[in-house]
């Protein structure tokens, strides 16, 4: 086989033909008439030389083939699998002679390597796209988590077995939860609120698209009780055979303590307002019935009854007007028109409004205003209303012969005015409550009619509408000072 291969090469064929020719000549030569020993010797030597050349050439050819093979392997080893296909395509791979005995082996190896390179390229491409998708999913998850953690509501999700698998920051804080994806915790053990656990259990038990909402009181991690609105929804998916399947449930808890507080304050306000209205109405109804029953036997009594009805109707009307006034300003329905005003000028106007009532009650009303210009950014009518309320309050609760002083001054960055009286004064307890709606100092109620809304209204105007402060300091039996401080506003504008 080896010899057959070797013989196929033309150099070997040529040499072999010469050797055979020379050998034949050497055999034939003695039969020729001109036989010569020297010629036979040359023929024999020539035969031996060509035979030696054949073996030498074979050795040379063999070593050349090995070198080629070595070169080929080196080149394949150096080639990256990316380049292999290109090299194959461009024909830059070394070509082995077609009759090289390594050729079929290398050809097979080359094919395998090219195929391997193609597959490796494909796998790398797939891996890159999977990596990109993975990164995108991770980013999306992190973004959604950030959104969920930014929510003020507490949200958590469970699997169908009632184990918490996810919770946002608010939920983790509320229930002091430690969530680890590898070791899920049972909601029933962690949530520590029987009503909540019941709703969750009920939702998971039904295994259908149920949605439950309720309001409940939950103790937070610090033990404080807060009202929450609970929304619990079953999470439904589809099983492999297309049947609906329960994946778990999601719970959302919204803190509604402030809403509850507003409802409570609203209810208290309605109760207080209705109580205040019922009192004059009680007088009216009682005296009307007495008149209808003919209990008033003489004109004088009838007159007395009618005047009580009149005064109580008047009280009721004032109360309703004040209530509406307060509600309008508090609700922002009353348009606030803030402009630059001189506080002193505004106080002088308020002073002139209450002057007649102070004179009537023989109270000395003194005005002591700052010589400086006190600029305030104010709604003139509203601020004047609060000054009038404070002045008339002082006049009401000061005995005849007493004094009421209205003064103004500049204090750092604030324009200040005070209403001081020598009236009945307030206890510390009354000072704390005097700005509450409908609060009236019981012992002083006989001194003047009132609705208990004048001071709350003044406080609302000064503090909420104008960003100032209204405070009171008082001594029982000596008098009170109501002090209003407003942010100073210079009129020097270009």
């Amino acid at each position: 086989m080896l010899i057959a291969n070797k013989v196929q090469r033309y150099e070997v064929k040529l040499l072999l033909a010469i050797t055979i020719g020379l050998a034949l000549a050497w055999v034939i030569e003695p039969t020729l008439p001109a036989s010569n020993f020297t010629v036979r010797m040359f023929l024999a030597i020539g035969c031996l030389v060509t035979a030696g050349a054949i073996f030498r050439l074979d050795a040379m050819l063999q070593s050349g083939s090995e070198k080629n093979a070595q070169r080929y392997i080196d080149m394949l080893c150096r080639l990256d699998h990316h380049d292999l296909a290109a090299a194959e395509l461009n024909g830059t791979l070394p070509k082995l002679p077609e009759n090289d005995h390594w050729q079929p082996i290398f050809s097979r190896v080359r094919q395998c390597l090219v195929e391997y390179g193609r597959r490796a390229d494909e796998a790398e491409h797939n891996w890159t796209s999977v990596e990109i998708k993975l990164r995108r999913v991770a980013n999306e998850y992190s973004r959604l988590n950030d959104f969920a953690n930014g929510l003020p509501d507490a949200a958590l999700a469970t699997n169908p077995y009632g184990e918490i698998v996810w919770a946002n920051q608010a939920a983790r804080k509320l229930f002091a939860l430690e969530i680890d994806a590898n070791t899920p915790v049972l909601a029933a053990e962690q949530l520590k609120c029987a009503a909540l656990v019941d709703v969750l259990g009920d939702t998971l038990k039904r295994q259908s698209a149920t949605h439950r909402a309720s309001e409940l009181e939950i103790a937070g991690a610090a033990g404080e009780l807060c009202w929450y609105r609970l929304n619990c929804r079953a999470l439904l998916g589809e099983s492999e055979d297309g049947q609906p399947e329960l994946n778990g449930a999601v719970l959302v808890l919204a803190d509604i303590s402030s809403e509850r507080g507003v409802q409570k304050r609203h209810a208290e306000f309605v109760s207080a307002a209705s109580h205040e209205m019922k009192t004059p109405l009680a007088g009216i109804r009682a005296y009307v019935e007495l008149l209808l029953d003919g209990e008033a036997e003489d004109d004088e009594t009838r007159e007395e009854f009618l005047s009580v009805i009149d005064s109580q109707a008047d009280r009721l009307q004032r109360l309703i007007e004040n209530l509406l006034n307060l509600a309008r300003i508090e609700a922002g329905v009353e348009k606030v028109d803030k402009q630059n005003h001189s506080l002193n000028e505004l106080l002088e106007s308020a002073h002139s409004v209450v002057q007649p009532s102070s004179e009537q009650k023989q109270i000395t009303l003194t005005i002591d205003l700052s010589p400086m210009y006190l600029g305030v950014l104010a709604d003139r009518d509203m601020l004047m209303q609060s000054a009038i309320n404070l002045l008339s309050n002082a006049i009401k609760y000061t005995e005849p012969g007493g004094k009421v002083t209205l003064r103004s001054r500049m204090e750092e960055n604030a324009a200040v005015f005070e209403v001081e009286d020598t009236g009945v004064g307030l206890s510390d307890e009354d000072c704390a409550k005097v700005f509450e709606k409908f609060y009236r100092v019981k012992k002083d109620q006989k001194m003047a009619p009132g609705t208990g809304l004048g001071l709350p209204l003044a406080k609302h105007i000064v503090e909420d509408v104008h960003g100032g402060s209204l405070t009171v300091s008082s001594r029982l039996g000596t008098g009170s000072i109501f002090r209003v401080s407003l942010p100073s506003h210079s009129r020097m504008q270009c």
């Binding site: 209705s274 019922k278 009680a282 007088g283 009216i284 005296y287 019935e289 007495l290 029953d293 209990e295």
Partner: protein, 135 residues
């Protein structure tokens, strides 16, 4: 001898209207607050107390608690006359404080008079039953 009623309310008009009607049938005395009512009660020993809830110094609830805690006044029939609404716990008023009747303001003086009459009759029949049982 007519029965005596003590009327406690800080609103002069309410006092005046109720007194005007009640005095036709009863002997009426008035107090301006809970404290004054308590002092008058111990002194005058009325047959019925008609009281407001919100009063200075001592409110209606405190006054009734004093009455129930004191052996001499524990049985006194009390009529509560109030403008208070939903915040009243009726359970406490009728079971704990044993108030005879609650009359909401605005009220009818005629109705108040009728309730006072009923309170006195009820109290007297209970007293009679008690005496009979003891005999």
């Amino acid at each position: 001898m007519s029965h005596r009623i003590l009327l406690a309310d800080d609103e002069i008009h309410i006092r005046r209207a109720a007194e005007f009607k009640l005095k036709r049938e009863f002997e009426v005395s008035c107090a301006e607050d809970g404290q004054e009512a308590w002092e008058m009660l111990l002194k005058d020993r009325p047959d019925v107390l008609i009281t407001d809830l919100q009063m200075p110094r001592m409110n209606g609830i405190e006054l009734i608690e004093h009455i129930r805690a004191n052996e001499a006044t524990a049985d006194l029939p009390v009529i509560l006359l109030t403008a208070k609404g939903f915040e009243l716990a009726r359970e406490d008023i009728f079971n704990t404080l044993k108030v005879f009747q609650l009359l909401s303001k605005p009220f009818s003086p005629r109705e108040l008079c009728r309730l006072a009459q009923m309170a006195i009759e009820g109290h007297e029949s209970r007293q009679t039953a008690l005496v009979t049982t003891q005999v």
